[in-house]
Symmetry: C2
Subunit: 204 residues, 2 copies
Amino acid sequence: MIVDDEFEMNSRFVVKPEIRLLGVDDSFLSGEEVLVVGTIFRGGEWLDGVVRTTITRDGMNATERLSRMVRETRHYRQLRAILLDGITFAGFNVVDIERLCHETGLPVIAIMRRVPDFEKIRRALTYLSDGEERWELILRAGRIVRVVTREPDRPIHIQFTGLREEDAVQIVRLSSTRSSIPEPLRAAHLIATGIACGESKRRS
Amino acid sequence: MIVDDEFEMNSRFVVKPEIRLLGVDDSFLSGEEVLVVGTIFRGGEWLDGVVRTTITRDGMNATERLSRMVRETRHYRQLRAILLDGITFAGFNVVDIERLCHETGLPVIAIMRRVPDFEKIRRALTYLSDGEERWELILRAGRIVRVVTREPDRPIHIQFTGLREEDAVQIVRLSSTRSSIPEPLRAAHLIATGIACGESKRRS
């Protein structure tokens, strides 16, 4: 990262307690088109809006659909960062977080409860069309950083782009008000599974 | 209300800050079956789950569908009260709040931003089948009480059954943490309209 970029980000980016965040999660695989829910939150406290889209199971349209969902919401100009539940949705529809960041002008932080088994993913991808391209997107999501949030014994892991590590860590910690993961993601999960299944499901 | 009833309610009913509430609202009329969303909240603070059902536009099945949704959720045993956004859903599908209370064993509180224009409703009902029955249900919802919650200049109005007025008022005030209406209802509205329309809508 060059110094100019870092300066620009630094001067632009202030993490206030009520920073507007978009949290994105998908529901279960129940058909070809999978429901994806976005929650607009003020920090980790307050649900301010709900958006949704669909993406194709094992398709290649996650980045495009999420980018459009973000740019089309009336909350767009208030948003300061996008939080994703990992970078693969609806099976192996992989999000290009750099492209999502570039197209929306917003930093992107992907949250994982545990470090993925990359060897297993790579093997699974060989059975899908565009396996190499999907693998490239996974590699491009960048290094994985361990973060302790609300529960010291349940650290999470993040990948991020468009902001500095210290800002990404601050956003994740600030918004993890009720559990070890950011509240916008916890709510998006409850809503997506509740709507798709009739009742929200706890994480496995 | 006889003294024994009152004593039973009183001895059973304690309003704790984290009292589990179910807030129910519908989405816009977009077809014959209208999405209805229930949010399970801890007081006015914390989304704990999401359930959904559908009810028929201008149908007669709101009470039955809501009753089943409540009894089937895994949160049922934790719930202490049901909050409804008014008593008519999906057009003129009227909820029998006494029957809902009886079938679920839970107090029911219906919240209105303003006192309905009953004469207008009565005239509208003459154009629907079962108009007299719908009107009876509206009358059975009981007297309307004005409550000042978070915003002194925006009082709301409630109808209730299965609990004492002072408990109903306490629950409504306790859970109106972000606006003049209980947070479970504000969130249910954002989710129902967000899912049905792609983006949540503010109240008119």
